[in-house]
Amino acid sequence: MTDDKAVLQLRDVDKTYPTGVHALRGVSLDVARSEVIAIVGPSGCGKSTLLRCVNGLEPIQGGTITFDGDVISDPKTKWQKVRQRIGMVFQSYELFGHLTVMKNLLLGPSVVQHADAADARTRAAALLERVGLADRADALPRQLSGGQKQRIAIVRALMMQPEVLLLDEITASLDPEMVREVLDVVLELASEGMTMLIVTHEMSFARAIADRVVFMDAGRVVEVAEPERFFTAPESARAQQFLNTFVFEAPDKDVAAGPALDGADVGEPAEG
Protein backbone atom coordinates (compact mmCIF):
# COMPACT_ATOMS: atom_id res chain seq x y z
CA MET A 1 0.00 0.00 0.00
CA THR A 2 1.32 3.38 -0.91
CA ASP A 3 1.06 6.06 1.65
CA ASP A 4 -0.73 8.63 -0.45
CA LYS A 5 -3.54 6.25 -1.31
CA ALA A 6 -6.70 6.63 0.78
CA VAL A 7 -6.73 4.11 3.61
CA LEU A 8 -10.46 4.59 4.03
CA GLN A 9 -12.87 5.33 1.22
CA LEU A 10 -16.58 6.00 1.50
CA ARG A 11 -18.58 6.06 -1.74
CA ASP A 12 -22.21 7.20 -1.82
CA VAL A 13 -22.90 5.65 1.58
CA ASP A 14 -26.60 5.49 2.36
CA LYS A 15 -28.01 4.57 5.73
CA THR A 16 -31.63 4.32 6.81
CA TYR A 17 -32.46 3.14 10.32
CA PRO A 18 -35.24 0.57 10.78
CA THR A 19 -37.25 3.43 12.31
CA GLY A 20 -37.26 5.10 8.89
CA VAL A 21 -34.77 7.84 9.77
CA HIS A 22 -32.62 8.49 6.71
CA ALA A 23 -29.34 9.18 8.51
CA LEU A 24 -26.83 9.21 5.64
CA ARG A 25 -27.65 10.32 2.10
CA GLY A 26 -24.89 9.52 -0.35
CA VAL A 27 -21.85 10.31 1.77
CA SER A 28 -18.46 10.12 0.04
CA LEU A 29 -15.14 10.70 1.75
CA ASP A 30 -11.50 9.70 1.27
CA VAL A 31 -9.22 9.47 4.28
CA ALA A 32 -5.48 9.33 3.70
CA ARG A 33 -3.10 7.52 6.03
CA SER A 34 -2.11 9.71 9.00
CA GLU A 35 -4.83 12.18 8.14
CA VAL A 36 -6.93 13.68 10.92
CA ILE A 37 -10.48 14.53 9.92
CA ALA A 38 -12.85 16.44 12.16
CA ILE A 39 -16.51 15.85 11.44
CA VAL A 40 -18.75 18.64 12.68
CA GLY A 41 -22.40 19.52 12.26
CA PRO A 42 -25.65 19.99 14.14
CA SER A 43 -27.15 17.22 16.28
CA GLY A 44 -28.79 14.52 14.19
CA CYS A 45 -26.79 15.39 11.06
CA GLY A 46 -25.51 11.81 10.81
CA LYS A 47 -21.93 12.31 11.97
CA SER A 48 -22.04 9.66 14.70
CA THR A 49 -23.88 7.29 12.38
CA LEU A 50 -21.04 7.72 9.90
CA LEU A 51 -18.49 6.46 12.45
CA ARG A 52 -20.74 3.59 13.48
CA CYS A 53 -21.06 2.50 9.85
CA VAL A 54 -17.27 2.56 9.40
CA ASN A 55 -16.97 0.32 12.48
CA GLY A 56 -19.69 -2.04 11.25
CA LEU A 57 -21.97 -1.31 14.20
CA GLU A 58 -24.64 -0.25 11.70
CA PRO A 59 -25.23 -1.90 8.34
CA ILE A 60 -25.52 0.44 5.35
CA GLN A 61 -28.18 0.26 2.66
CA GLY A 62 -26.25 1.73 -0.24
CA GLY A 63 -22.76 2.62 -1.40
CA THR A 64 -19.47 1.07 -0.37
CA ILE A 65 -16.88 1.51 2.36
CA THR A 66 -13.36 0.39 1.53
CA PHE A 67 -10.58 -0.06 4.08
CA ASP A 68 -7.00 -0.66 2.93
CA GLY A 69 -8.26 -1.90 -0.45
CA ASP A 70 -10.91 -4.27 0.94
CA VAL A 71 -14.62 -3.59 0.76
CA ILE A 72 -15.87 -3.73 4.35
CA SER A 73 -19.48 -2.84 3.74
CA ASP A 74 -20.82 -6.19 2.60
CA PRO A 75 -22.28 -9.00 4.68
CA LYS A 76 -19.19 -11.19 4.29
CA THR A 77 -16.97 -8.67 6.08
CA LYS A 78 -14.89 -10.27 8.83
CA TRP A 79 -15.59 -7.52 11.33
CA GLN A 80 -13.57 -9.16 14.09
CA LYS A 81 -10.48 -8.64 11.94
CA VAL A 82 -11.39 -5.16 10.68
CA ARG A 83 -12.30 -3.78 14.10
CA GLN A 84 -8.87 -4.67 15.48
CA ARG A 85 -7.47 -2.29 12.86
CA ILE A 86 -10.17 0.40 13.20
CA GLY A 87 -10.58 1.28 16.86
CA MET A 88 -13.49 3.22 18.30
CA VAL A 89 -13.97 5.37 21.39
CA PHE A 90 -17.48 6.26 22.56
CA GLN A 91 -18.95 9.38 24.13
CA SER A 92 -20.01 7.41 27.23
CA TYR A 93 -16.57 5.72 27.75
CA GLU A 94 -18.08 2.23 27.96
CA LEU A 95 -15.38 0.83 30.18
CA PHE A 96 -16.29 -2.62 31.50
CA GLY A 97 -17.56 -1.88 34.99
CA HIS A 98 -16.76 -5.27 36.48
CA LEU A 99 -13.07 -5.11 35.56
CA THR A 100 -10.19 -3.03 36.85
CA VAL A 101 -8.48 -0.55 34.56
CA MET A 102 -5.69 -3.03 33.81
CA LYS A 103 -8.14 -5.85 33.06
CA ASN A 104 -10.13 -3.52 30.80
CA LEU A 105 -6.95 -2.95 28.83
CA LEU A 106 -5.93 -6.64 28.71
CA LEU A 107 -9.32 -8.15 27.82
CA GLY A 108 -9.16 -7.34 24.10
CA PRO A 109 -5.55 -8.45 23.56
CA SER A 110 -6.06 -11.72 25.47
CA VAL A 111 -9.51 -12.70 24.19
CA VAL A 112 -9.25 -11.43 20.62
CA GLN A 113 -5.55 -11.51 19.77
CA HIS A 114 -4.38 -14.22 22.20
CA ALA A 115 -1.50 -11.89 22.92
CA ASP A 116 1.31 -12.82 25.28
CA ALA A 117 0.07 -11.75 28.71
CA ALA A 118 3.34 -10.32 29.99
CA ASP A 119 3.91 -8.42 26.77
CA ALA A 120 0.37 -6.97 26.79
CA ARG A 121 0.80 -5.94 30.42
CA THR A 122 4.03 -4.12 29.60
CA ARG A 123 2.34 -2.26 26.74
CA ALA A 124 -0.64 -1.39 28.94
CA ALA A 125 1.63 -0.04 31.65
CA ALA A 126 3.53 2.07 29.14
CA LEU A 127 0.32 3.51 27.67
CA LEU A 128 -1.07 4.25 31.14
CA GLU A 129 2.15 6.06 31.95
CA ARG A 130 1.80 8.14 28.79
CA VAL A 131 -1.74 9.29 29.62
CA GLY A 132 -0.70 10.00 33.22
CA LEU A 133 -2.72 7.21 34.84
CA ALA A 134 -0.03 4.73 35.79
CA ASP A 135 -1.21 4.78 39.40
CA ARG A 136 -4.81 3.87 38.50
CA ALA A 137 -4.17 0.42 37.01
CA ASP A 138 -5.98 -1.38 39.83
CA ALA A 139 -8.88 1.06 40.14
CA LEU A 140 -12.40 0.14 39.07
CA PRO A 141 -13.99 2.37 36.42
CA ARG A 142 -16.51 3.80 38.89
CA GLN A 143 -13.64 5.13 40.99
CA LEU A 144 -12.41 7.31 38.11
CA SER A 145 -13.41 10.76 36.95
CA GLY A 146 -14.96 11.20 33.51
CA GLY A 147 -11.73 12.50 32.05
CA GLN A 148 -9.78 9.58 33.48
CA LYS A 149 -12.34 7.11 32.16
CA GLN A 150 -12.12 8.56 28.68
CA ARG A 151 -8.32 8.45 28.68
CA ILE A 152 -8.54 4.78 29.70
CA ALA A 153 -11.06 4.17 26.92
CA ILE A 154 -8.61 5.64 24.40
CA VAL A 155 -5.81 3.46 25.78
CA ARG A 156 -8.08 0.42 25.60
CA ALA A 157 -8.64 1.09 21.89
CA LEU A 158 -4.89 1.62 21.39
CA MET A 159 -4.11 -1.74 23.01
CA MET A 160 -5.40 -3.42 19.83
CA GLN A 161 -2.78 -1.43 17.87
CA PRO A 162 -5.28 -0.02 15.39
CA GLU A 163 -4.34 1.85 12.22
CA VAL A 164 -7.39 4.10 12.35
CA LEU A 165 -9.15 5.54 15.37
CA LEU A 166 -12.79 6.69 15.39
CA LEU A 167 -13.60 9.14 18.18
CA ASP A 168 -17.31 9.73 18.69
CA GLU A 169 -17.89 12.96 20.68
CA ILE A 170 -15.42 11.76 23.29
CA THR A 171 -15.56 14.97 25.33
CA ALA A 172 -19.29 15.64 25.10
CA SER A 173 -20.04 14.10 28.52
CA LEU A 174 -17.11 15.71 30.32
CA ASP A 175 -16.94 18.67 32.64
CA PRO A 176 -15.11 21.52 30.92
CA GLU A 177 -11.97 21.20 33.04
CA MET A 178 -11.61 17.54 32.05
CA VAL A 179 -11.91 18.14 28.32
CA ARG A 180 -8.35 19.36 28.07
CA GLU A 181 -6.69 16.26 29.57
CA VAL A 182 -8.50 14.05 27.06
CA LEU A 183 -7.87 16.25 24.05
CA ASP A 184 -4.17 16.48 24.90
CA VAL A 185 -3.95 12.71 24.49
CA VAL A 186 -5.64 12.96 21.09
CA LEU A 187 -3.34 15.78 20.00
CA GLU A 188 -0.35 13.63 20.88
CA LEU A 189 -1.75 10.72 18.85
CA ALA A 190 -2.21 13.04 15.89
CA SER A 191 1.38 14.21 16.13
CA GLU A 192 2.48 10.56 15.97
CA GLY A 193 0.63 10.06 12.70
CA MET A 194 -2.46 8.17 13.86
CA THR A 195 -5.23 8.29 11.26
CA MET A 196 -8.33 9.63 12.99
CA LEU A 197 -11.95 10.45 12.30
CA ILE A 198 -13.10 12.76 15.08
CA VAL A 199 -16.72 13.70 15.61
CA THR A 200 -16.68 16.69 17.93
CA HIS A 201 -18.43 19.82 19.14
CA GLU A 202 -15.15 21.34 20.30
CA MET A 203 -14.61 23.79 17.48
CA SER A 204 -11.29 25.17 18.65
CA PHE A 205 -10.02 21.61 19.05
CA ALA A 206 -11.20 20.68 15.56
CA ARG A 207 -9.46 23.73 14.21
CA ALA A 208 -6.21 22.88 15.99
CA ILE A 209 -6.02 19.18 15.20
CA ALA A 210 -7.74 18.55 11.88
CA ASP A 211 -6.10 18.33 8.47
CA ARG A 212 -9.57 18.67 7.00
CA VAL A 213 -12.96 19.54 8.43
CA VAL A 214 -16.06 17.76 7.17
CA PHE A 215 -19.30 19.65 7.77
CA MET A 216 -22.42 17.52 7.66
CA ASP A 217 -26.08 18.44 7.70
CA ALA A 218 -29.19 16.30 7.27
CA GLY A 219 -27.22 13.20 6.32
CA ARG A 220 -25.10 14.89 3.66
CA VAL A 221 -21.53 16.13 3.52
CA VAL A 222 -22.12 19.83 2.86
CA GLU A 223 -18.59 21.08 2.95
CA VAL A 224 -15.04 19.71 3.18
CA ALA A 225 -12.31 22.25 3.81
CA GLU A 226 -9.02 22.93 5.53
CA PRO A 227 -9.74 24.10 9.06
CA GLU A 228 -8.46 27.68 8.65
CA ARG A 229 -10.66 28.14 5.65
CA PHE A 230 -13.69 26.41 7.17
CA PHE A 231 -13.61 28.37 10.41
CA THR A 232 -12.85 31.77 8.87
CA ALA A 233 -14.72 31.65 5.58
CA PRO A 234 -17.13 28.72 5.23
CA GLU A 235 -18.60 28.44 1.79
CA SER A 236 -22.10 27.24 2.54
CA ALA A 237 -24.77 29.30 4.25
CA ARG A 238 -25.62 26.27 6.40
CA ALA A 239 -22.06 26.05 7.74
CA GLN A 240 -22.02 29.79 8.46
CA GLN A 241 -25.27 29.47 10.33
CA PHE A 242 -23.91 26.49 12.28
CA LEU A 243 -20.70 28.27 13.24
CA ASN A 244 -22.64 31.33 14.35
CA THR A 245 -24.37 29.26 17.02
CA PHE A 246 -21.00 29.12 18.80
CA VAL A 247 -20.72 32.92 18.93
CA PHE A 248 -22.27 34.90 21.74
CA GLU A 249 -22.80 38.60 21.85
CA ALA A 250 -23.70 40.81 24.78
CA PRO A 251 -27.46 41.23 24.83
CA ASP A 252 -27.46 45.03 25.18
CA LYS A 253 -25.25 45.44 22.16
CA ASP A 254 -27.27 46.10 19.05
CA VAL A 255 -30.58 44.50 20.02
CA ALA A 256 -32.25 46.11 17.04
CA ALA A 257 -29.93 44.41 14.58
CA GLY A 258 -32.62 41.88 13.87
CA PRO A 259 -32.59 38.19 13.13
CA ALA A 260 -28.95 37.44 13.88
CA LEU A 261 -29.86 33.96 15.06
CA ASP A 262 -31.22 32.64 11.81
CA GLY A 263 -27.98 33.70 10.26
CA ALA A 264 -29.26 34.10 6.71
CA ASP A 265 -27.67 37.48 6.19
CA VAL A 266 -24.88 37.24 8.73
CA GLY A 267 -21.59 36.95 6.95
CA GLU A 268 -19.43 37.31 10.00
CA PRO A 269 -17.63 34.03 10.67
CA ALA A 270 -17.11 32.53 14.06
CA GLU A 271 -13.87 32.97 15.89
CA GLY A 272 -12.42 29.52 16.56
Binding site: R83, M88, E94, G97, V111
Partner: protein
Protein backbone atom coordinates in the same frame (compact mmCIF):
# COMPACT_ATOMS: atom_id res chain seq x y z
CA UNK B 1 -45.56 -35.27 71.66
CA UNK B 2 -43.76 -38.60 71.40
CA UNK B 3 -40.08 -37.68 71.46
CA UNK B 4 -38.95 -41.27 71.28
CA UNK B 5 -40.86 -41.61 68.03
CA UNK B 6 -39.30 -38.42 66.72
CA UNK B 7 -35.77 -39.62 67.59
CA UNK B 8 -36.38 -42.94 65.86
CA UNK B 9 -37.77 -41.27 62.77
CA UNK B 10 -34.91 -38.84 62.23
CA UNK B 11 -32.79 -41.16 60.02
CA UNK B 12 -35.83 -41.76 57.81
CA UNK B 13 -36.35 -38.04 57.30
CA UNK B 14 -32.61 -37.50 56.92
CA UNK B 15 -32.56 -39.88 54.00
CA UNK B 16 -35.58 -38.21 52.40
CA UNK B 17 -34.01 -34.78 52.93
CA UNK B 18 -30.86 -35.94 51.15
CA UNK B 19 -33.01 -37.07 48.24
CA UNK B 20 -34.77 -33.69 48.18
CA UNK B 21 -31.43 -31.87 48.19
CA UNK B 22 -29.99 -34.14 45.51
CA UNK B 23 -32.99 -33.75 43.17
CA UNK B 24 -33.06 -30.04 43.91
CA UNK B 25 -29.35 -29.52 43.28
CA UNK B 26 -29.33 -31.41 39.99
CA UNK B 27 -32.56 -29.73 38.86
CA UNK B 28 -31.26 -26.28 39.77
CA UNK B 29 -27.93 -26.73 37.98
CA UNK B 30 -29.77 -27.97 34.88
CA UNK B 31 -32.27 -25.09 35.21
CA UNK B 32 -29.38 -22.62 35.21
CA UNK B 33 -27.95 -24.20 32.06
CA UNK B 34 -31.33 -24.21 30.29
CA UNK B 35 -31.88 -20.61 31.44
CA UNK B 36 -28.51 -19.48 30.11
CA UNK B 37 -29.05 -21.11 26.74
CA UNK B 38 -32.56 -19.63 26.46
CA UNK B 39 -31.33 -16.18 27.47
CA UNK B 40 -28.50 -16.35 24.93
CA UNK B 41 -30.98 -17.32 22.19
CA UNK B 42 -33.17 -14.36 23.12
CA UNK B 43 -30.18 -12.01 23.43
CA UNK B 44 -28.95 -12.84 19.93
CA UNK B 45 -32.53 -12.87 18.59
CA UNK B 46 -31.95 -16.14 16.76
CA UNK B 47 -34.96 -16.61 14.51
CA UNK B 48 -37.20 -19.65 15.12
CA UNK B 49 -35.29 -20.73 18.24
CA UNK B 50 -36.29 -17.43 19.78
CA UNK B 51 -40.00 -18.10 19.17
CA UNK B 52 -39.51 -21.62 20.51
CA UNK B 53 -37.98 -20.24 23.71
CA UNK B 54 -40.81 -17.74 24.11
CA UNK B 55 -43.37 -20.53 23.76
CA UNK B 56 -41.48 -22.73 26.25
CA UNK B 57 -41.26 -19.93 28.80
CA UNK B 58 -45.00 -19.25 28.60
CA UNK B 59 -45.90 -22.94 28.75
CA UNK B 60 -43.59 -23.59 31.68
CA UNK B 61 -44.51 -20.54 33.72
CA UNK B 62 -48.25 -20.82 33.23
CA UNK B 63 -48.76 -24.44 34.19
CA UNK B 64 -48.34 -25.82 37.73
CA UNK B 65 -45.45 -28.17 38.45
CA UNK B 66 -47.97 -30.71 39.68
CA UNK B 67 -49.60 -30.81 36.25
CA UNK B 68 -46.23 -30.95 34.51
CA UNK B 69 -45.25 -33.92 36.65
CA UNK B 70 -48.55 -35.71 35.94
CA UNK B 71 -47.88 -35.26 32.27
CA UNK B 72 -44.31 -36.60 32.53
CA UNK B 73 -45.11 -39.51 34.84
CA UNK B 74 -48.55 -40.66 33.70
CA UNK B 75 -48.92 -39.13 30.24
CA UNK B 76 -45.60 -39.81 28.53
CA UNK B 77 -45.55 -43.59 29.22
CA UNK B 78 -48.64 -43.83 26.98
CA UNK B 79 -46.39 -42.65 24.13
CA UNK B 80 -43.71 -45.17 25.11
CA UNK B 81 -41.47 -42.85 27.13
CA UNK B 82 -41.09 -44.32 30.59
CA UNK B 83 -38.97 -42.55 33.23
CA UNK B 84 -38.25 -43.41 36.85
CA UNK B 85 -39.85 -41.11 39.38
CA UNK B 86 -36.44 -39.66 40.21
CA UNK B 87 -35.69 -38.84 36.57
CA UNK B 88 -39.22 -37.45 36.18
CA UNK B 89 -38.65 -35.21 39.18
CA UNK B 90 -35.40 -33.85 37.74
CA UNK B 91 -36.87 -33.32 34.28
CA UNK B 92 -39.95 -31.66 35.73
CA UNK B 93 -37.96 -29.37 38.00
CA UNK B 94 -35.66 -28.40 35.11
CA UNK B 95 -38.63 -27.75 32.83
CA UNK B 96 -40.10 -25.42 35.44
CA UNK B 97 -36.84 -23.85 36.65
CA UNK B 98 -35.34 -23.31 33.20
CA UNK B 99 -37.96 -20.72 32.29
CA UNK B 100 -37.61 -18.87 35.59
CA UNK B 101 -33.82 -18.78 35.27
CA UNK B 102 -34.14 -17.71 31.61
CA UNK B 103 -36.30 -14.77 32.63
CA UNK B 104 -33.86 -13.77 35.38
CA UNK B 105 -30.93 -13.81 32.94
CA UNK B 106 -32.89 -12.11 30.15
CA UNK B 107 -34.16 -9.21 32.22
CA UNK B 108 -30.75 -8.57 33.79
CA UNK B 109 -29.06 -8.68 30.38
CA UNK B 110 -31.58 -6.15 29.11
CA UNK B 111 -30.66 -3.88 32.01
CA UNK B 112 -27.08 -3.56 30.70
CA UNK B 113 -26.84 -0.86 28.05
CA UNK B 114 -26.35 -2.41 24.60
CA UNK B 115 -23.56 0.07 23.88
CA UNK B 116 -21.44 -1.97 26.32
CA UNK B 117 -21.93 -4.85 23.92
CA UNK B 118 -20.95 -2.63 21.00
CA UNK B 119 -17.82 -1.42 22.73
CA UNK B 120 -16.80 -5.05 23.21
CA UNK B 121 -17.47 -5.71 19.53
CA UNK B 122 -15.44 -2.65 18.59
CA UNK B 123 -12.40 -4.32 20.16
CA UNK B 124 -12.82 -7.16 17.69
CA UNK B 125 -14.66 -9.61 19.94
CA UNK B 126 -17.18 -12.03 18.49
CA UNK B 127 -20.75 -11.67 19.70
CA UNK B 128 -20.29 -14.73 21.86
CA UNK B 129 -17.13 -13.33 23.45
CA UNK B 130 -18.84 -10.00 24.07
CA UNK B 131 -21.74 -11.82 25.77
CA UNK B 132 -19.49 -14.05 27.86
CA UNK B 133 -16.78 -11.58 28.86
CA UNK B 134 -18.69 -8.30 29.09
CA UNK B 135 -22.47 -8.69 29.29
CA UNK B 136 -22.99 -11.80 31.43
CA UNK B 137 -20.51 -10.97 34.21
CA UNK B 138 -22.10 -7.57 34.67
CA UNK B 139 -25.68 -8.83 34.43
CA UNK B 140 -24.98 -11.58 36.96
CA UNK B 141 -24.70 -9.06 39.77
CA UNK B 142 -28.11 -7.67 38.80
CA UNK B 143 -29.62 -11.13 38.38
CA UNK B 144 -28.42 -12.42 41.76
CA UNK B 145 -31.58 -11.61 43.81
CA UNK B 146 -33.82 -13.22 41.18
CA UNK B 147 -31.55 -16.25 40.85
CA UNK B 148 -31.39 -16.94 44.58
CA UNK B 149 -35.16 -16.46 44.87
CA UNK B 150 -35.55 -19.06 42.11
CA UNK B 151 -33.27 -21.51 43.92
CA UNK B 152 -35.39 -21.31 47.07
CA UNK B 153 -38.62 -21.45 45.05
CA UNK B 154 -37.49 -24.58 43.21
CA UNK B 155 -36.39 -26.35 46.39
CA UNK B 156 -39.82 -25.69 47.88
CA UNK B 157 -41.52 -26.91 44.72
CA UNK B 158 -39.93 -30.32 45.24
CA UNK B 159 -42.57 -30.83 47.95
CA UNK B 160 -45.10 -31.91 45.31
CA UNK B 161 -42.85 -34.71 44.06
CA UNK B 162 -44.54 -37.32 46.30
CA UNK B 163 -47.41 -37.51 43.78
CA UNK B 164 -45.09 -39.32 41.39
CA UNK B 165 -44.01 -41.72 44.15
CA UNK B 166 -40.72 -40.02 44.89
CA UNK B 167 -39.81 -40.89 48.51
CA UNK B 168 -39.12 -37.29 49.53
CA UNK B 169 -39.88 -35.56 52.84
CA UNK B 170 -43.60 -35.11 52.18
CA UNK B 171 -43.87 -38.70 51.04
CA UNK B 172 -42.22 -39.99 54.24
CA UNK B 173 -44.43 -37.79 56.42
CA UNK B 174 -47.61 -38.94 54.68
CA UNK B 175 -46.55 -42.57 55.07
CA UNK B 176 -45.85 -42.12 58.76
CA UNK B 177 -49.15 -40.41 59.39
CA UNK B 178 -50.95 -43.17 57.53
CA UNK B 179 -49.10 -45.96 59.33
CA UNK B 180 -48.74 -44.64 62.88
CA UNK B 181 -51.23 -41.76 63.30
CA UNK B 182 -48.42 -39.70 64.89
CA UNK B 183 -49.59 -36.68 62.90
CA UNK B 184 -48.14 -33.92 65.09
CA UNK B 185 -44.74 -35.58 65.31
CA UNK B 186 -44.58 -36.22 61.56
CA UNK B 187 -45.52 -32.63 60.75
CA UNK B 188 -42.99 -31.20 63.21
CA UNK B 189 -40.31 -33.35 61.61
CA UNK B 190 -41.44 -32.28 58.14
CA UNK B 191 -41.28 -28.57 58.94
CA UNK B 192 -37.95 -28.95 60.77
CA UNK B 193 -36.26 -30.72 57.91
CA UNK B 194 -37.45 -28.20 55.32
CA UNK B 195 -36.13 -25.41 57.53
CA UNK B 196 -32.87 -27.30 57.94
CA UNK B 197 -32.45 -27.33 54.17
CA UNK B 198 -33.78 -23.87 53.29
CA UNK B 199 -32.69 -21.59 56.13
CA UNK B 200 -28.94 -21.91 55.47
CA UNK B 201 -29.58 -21.36 51.76
CA UNK B 202 -31.71 -18.27 52.45
CA UNK B 203 -29.08 -16.81 54.77
CA UNK B 204 -26.31 -17.64 52.30
CA UNK B 205 -28.27 -16.02 49.49
CA UNK B 206 -28.75 -12.85 51.51
CA UNK B 207 -25.03 -12.72 52.24
CA UNK B 208 -24.26 -13.24 48.53
CA UNK B 209 -26.65 -10.46 47.50
CA UNK B 210 -25.02 -8.07 49.93
CA UNK B 211 -21.63 -8.97 48.50
CA UNK B 212 -22.64 -8.10 44.92
CA UNK B 213 -24.87 -5.14 45.72
CA UNK B 214 -21.99 -2.69 45.16
CA UNK B 215 -22.44 -3.44 41.51
CA UNK B 216 -23.83 -0.14 40.25
CA UNK B 217 -21.72 -0.18 37.14
CA UNK B 218 -21.10 2.75 34.83
CA UNK B 219 -21.02 5.97 36.77
Amino acid sequence: MDFGFIRESIPLYGEAALLTVRIGAVGIVLSLLVGLVCAAIQFFRIPLLRQLVAAYVELSRNTPLLVQLFFLYFGLPKTGVVMSSELCAIVGLTFLGGSYMAEAFRSSLEAIDSIQFQSALSLGMTRGQALGHVMLPQSLALAMPALTANVIFLLKETSVMSVIALPDLVYVAKEQIGNTYNTSEALVLLVSFYLLILLPISLGARYLERRVRYANFGD
